[in-house]
């Protein structure tokens, strides 16, 4: 996952970038020619964009960049990465170094997600079968 500070905010005005508000249904969006979808966290406690990212990545098979903007805190980066975000623009005052450290320390998980869809128990059964 690529992290940015506010000052380095990547451009999001070109025609290949789609900005979705956090109450939009990504399944109704036209993704033709889009290489970046920008999703928004109005507050870090508003988790709607996690479901939007999941639907884009997993349901719609979108392979471009999904960027998190808004109140993006370092402690939510692992969740963002798991739901399909590939870029995050950190909120004011958040540290790139701490964010990267937390991403590097990510733990193994129980359930599947947008990136690794199979839950842990799927590999357990495969192992047993083999």
């Amino acid at each position: 996952m690529k992290l940015f500070e506010q000052a380095q905010l990547p451009p999001s005005t070109d025609s290949q970038t789609l900005v979705l508000s956090n109450d939009a249904d990504p399944r109704t969006a036209d993704l033709t020619g889009v290489h970046t979808v920008v999703l928004h966290f109005p507050s870090f406690t508003d988790g709607r964009a996690f479901s939007q990212a999941f639907l884009l990545r997993r349901r719609l098979g979108f392979t471009g960049t999904i960027r998190a903007t808004g109140d993006v805190l370092v402690d939510q980066l692992v969740q963002m990465a798991r739901t399909g975000f590939t870029e995050a623009v950190l909120a004011e005052g958040q540290s790139l170094a701490v964010g990267q450290r937390l991403l590097d320390q990510a733990n193994a998980t129980y359930q599947g997600d947008a990136v690794a869809p199979q839950p842990r128990f799927a590999s357990l059964s495969t192992l047993e079968a083999a």
Binding site: G47, Y110, G112, F121
Partner: protein
Amino acid sequence: MYSYTEFDRQFIRHRAAQHRDQLARNQAGTLSDEAFRPLRLQNGWYIQRYAPMLRVAVPYGEIAARQLRVLATIAREYDRPDPELLARAQATQDGIDERAGSRPGPRLKFGYGHFTTRQNVQFNWIPLDKSADVMDLLATVDMHGIQTSGNCIRNITTDERAGIAADEVADPRPFAEILRQWSTLHPEFAFLPRKFKVAIHGAREDRAAIAWHDVGLQVVRNTESVANNAHQESAGGLSGYENVGFKVLVGGGMGRTPVVASVIREFLPWDQILNYLEAVVRVYNRWGRRDNKYKARIKILVKAEGQRFVDEVEAEYEAILTQDGAPHTIPLAELQRVAASFVPPALNCDRKTADAKIAHILKAAAEDDVEFGRWLQQNVAAHKNPDLRAVTLSFKRLGQAPGDASADQLDAVAELAERFSAGEARVTHDQNLLLPWVRCDQLPELWREARRLGLAKPNIRLLTDMIACPGGDFCDLANARAVPVAAAISEAYTDLDELHDLGEIDLHISGCINSCGHHHTGHIGILGVDKDGQEWYQVTLGGSDGSTLSGAPGAGKVIGPSFAADEMVDVVTAILDTYRTHRTSGETFINTLRRVGHDPYKAAANAVRHITARHTAQADA
């Protein structure tokens, strides 16, 4: 009990280390209090009225002796306020006592664990800077506080008699454990509009109040033709699970707007439960209200959208199956792997010896005779295995708040669990502890030991086995105290003859409308409210949690304007006296109330007003 794998252990240790890192960043000023708040909440750390509160997860209520001992250590060594803080807190509480119409409460206590209605354990005085040490200590016995708070999928609760109930269709615990693992740190569902509570049971009687949860699951067996069900082949073969599935309820909850959950699926094959819940929670995450916290629970969404909500969930479920490849379909091997943890301990007893021992006690001193007989009747329940019994230890007694257990009591209970219950206990929804594997020939011995410890009070399911939240003594949300009201009623009803004569009554007390004390479902419900900085109590009658005793689930009805604290014992007495006047032979409190209606109870309760009489007259005018 579920036995942790090395993976599960490593997961908990990683989580504890993560909390330590967050605490350090918060103390260094690089993680703001505001950003730290939801992170610590999702590990069970609240900041309450006077001090932090830790809620330790006890998944579906099952707890081992070694875990009880660690909780005892936490109570003894960490649940200790700074003397200055305690003095300040006590002075504030004393200030409440001095107000008009108030009733002096017991002094604040520390060094206790508290059993909650959601089968967890809370501590009230652990300083936040010790929190990382406590998490490490918990991790040594496979415990944690993950998702015991926050707007996420909370600890899953179940029937206190899961796996042992004589009326069980299928053991819900393997499913509860699979649900626990699936919901633990789910990346998409950690910041939902509001908290999300799941309860599951697998018996004929609902002892888990599932209709009052965001999602309620009942394990059922489909009696219709198995061959007609497309999923059956993958869902169990000849494993004993071939016709097992769930009745799925959605949208129950208490709070300001009590709602009984609606059945959204009569039968869902067991292997689809994670895929289906993913659909439910995703629709809730997308559609649930975030503009008003009192309208953010899924019950409001289900009520507002009705069939549209159901259709959206079904469409989402269909998409998970057909477009996503249904990755969380549970393989039979996984269910069997988890279920292997829940094999009953090999125990049986010589029933003839048991009968002789019990008869011996019953013939002994007359006092023992009555007390032991009552204990057998109230605190001992039938078991799936006819050689065994389920025994409830009562944590409802004078001098201690409902559900409170001291460090010494927690240690003592650990020993009882080891000696009499294969090392296992259960935290019950009614805030007691249950020993699930007691040999029938050990009942007399267990009774003597429990009585010595003050945990054999034969009041289970009776008036004084009340549910009460910590209320205004500890909780930051409370509008009024619950503990003094509970204490006053317990003090007024100590006579066991009288309690047994009154029979089974659900008395539930909440210190505020968040309803942690489940007042909505009490046959008698008491709700603390705050008016002009004073404590008042609203009384409801006729609520039901959905148990056989209480009937179809529903919220109680308010009997009139709020009462003063000092009137509460008289009000409860007036209600109980009305019952005694109107009951027919053997009729329970709730049945009499339903037969004669609320009016005589209302009249009796309102007649005892001495402080609120004038207020009421003004309100009526």
